[in-house]
Symmetry: C2
Subunit: 305 residues, 2 copies
């Protein structure tokens, strides 16, 4: 029966997007232990860390050591966020399987987040593509603020589609549209995803959603309806962008897996063992996590007991 | 432009479903003031209180006085939950516009919630229909545990559809399917709603959803897709059934209105003034409310400032 279920590719972003705004710096040992446990969950991808300025994101300054010490599970892609050729070189040296690039659809946010304009970001991505060309590493691209920006307001679809095209021109075959501050809503999410899928049939389009206004899973549902099969999520709903006003938690992995499995999709992730990881993560960050299923428990239909 | 938007009928249930499980008894004056402010929001319906045993639900023992003292806004239906002919007689004496009946699709839950079996509930409903026949009051019916029951497990669709039919046979033209403990999921919600709409074209089918597992708005989205246009919601996401293990908050009105208005629906409710009611409700119940938009603020697209 499992073989007939449609596979959804999940990327666990808690170790990067989740930890980057936590006030507590999680010790490297704890990160490695958590990632090794996440590896056993069966994720398609785990975003391990980011190779950016240690002064800008001190919580992830130990990226190279984390990559060196984790046990890699065959079948899971271990990715690293990079924003510059220098960061990419460090990520390649650390043998990241995938370099995750990020540009913002909002010039104002790109300047706040990356310290440069969008064109300059893509100049750097072109260098990164050259650096990665003769390595086993693949590239994926994210487009922050794809569904609206608190600094700039509405973002035209054409601008987002143009950025997908610029990634595609660099050979990036996997692009994630990010609702960085949770401004997207179902009809908009469906329309932009549908346009992107139609215009770029060779690019795998994914979604990175935040639950700032409670629309995370409704937006996933809308995206599933137009054929999106890749989603980022964060254990315990941690996360947010330190350079975007009002950004709050990513969609919660446990709640997403619960919904998808009930709907008959195969996420590859086992919900019970995933929920069992919450206390270790709570200890690491020193506060309670978000999410509904972690508190209420899964529906009896998914309960193994 | 407003004229072209599809209208969604919202029922505000915070004063009944919300307050019934609060440990604090909200004073009658406060209830009347809150309902009068809710009346100005433009809801299609407001569930004012319930005429049930005061010992079972002491928080709502003042139902008659509340009905006597509220100012009624033309265009809003003021409903009362009743479970027995005796309660119905009291609600009619209080001039409730609508008597809201409730039966559970689960025999075990119907016994816990109503103290009788399903057939006995319907015997009472037949008496209530006779009582109401020569009054201006209308009847609506709810079916608790339509999407699963923590006591009985899965609930067959046919059982729920059979109960819709029993209501219809009594002349009830408005039936709400309730996910009392948040066990429903989008594909299931869509399938059961679609079957009910198809089999009962003369009955207005609505949904009463709880957000226990974070699926509330995703379930609304799924239901919109098959043509459901009536939803219950609770300001601040308060609510739950005192006789159902694990029941937690109703879907939050602010978050629902925010999603629907962004999607181009007309709820009749003004989001900003609705959000402005939260502090008064928080004071009344003595604790923080649920909901995302009340904390994060609406998207700039909906912000009037």
């Amino acid at each position: 029966m499992t073989a007939t279920r449609k596979r959804i590719e999940l990327t666990e972003v808690v170790m990067r997007d989740g930890l980057q705004i936590e006030p507590a710096i999680v010790p490297t040992d704890t990160k490695v232990a958590l990632i090794d446990q996440l590896s056993e969950q069966g994720y398609a991808r785990i975003e391990v860390s980011s190779f950016v300025s240690a002064s800008a994101v001190p919580a992830l300054a130990d990226a190279a050591e984390v990559f060196a010490r984790i046990r890699r599970r065959p079948g899971t892609v271990y990715s690293a966020l990079v924003m510059t050729p220098r960061g990419a070189a460090r990520a390649l040296a650390a043998q990241a399987d995938e370099l995750s690039l990020v540009v913002s659809a909002s010039e104002a946010h790109n300047r706040a987040n990356a310290g440069r304009d969008i064109d300059t970001s893509f100049d750097g991505f072109a260098e990164i593509a050259l650096l990665a060309r003769d390595t086993p590493a693949t590239l994926c691209g994210a487009i922050a603020m794809s569904f609206g920006c608190p600094l700039e307001g509405d973002i035209p679809f054409e601008r987002v589609l143009g950025l997908v095209g610029r990634y595609a021109n660099l050979g990036v075959r996997s692009v994630s549209l990010a609702d960085t501050t949770g401004m997207g809503y179902p009809t908009q999410i469906a329309a932009l995803c549908e346009a992107a899928l139609r215009r770029f049939p060779d690019v795998r389009i994914g979604l990175h959603l935040h639950d700032t206004r409670g629309l995370g899973l409704a937006n996933v549902h809308a995206a599933l309806g137009v054929g999106i099969e890749r989603f980022d999520a964060s254990l315990g709903g941690l996360g947010g962008c330190p350079f975007a006003p009002g950004a709050s938690g990513n969609i919660c992995t446990e709640d997403l897996v619960h919904m998808l499995e009930l709907m008959g999709y195969d996420t590859g992730v086992d919900l019970d063992t995933l929920i069992a990881l919450r206390p270790a993560l709570e200890n690491a960050v020193g506060h309670a996590l978000h999410g509904h299923v972690g508190r209420a428990g899964p529906c009896h239909r998914l309960a193994r007991a």
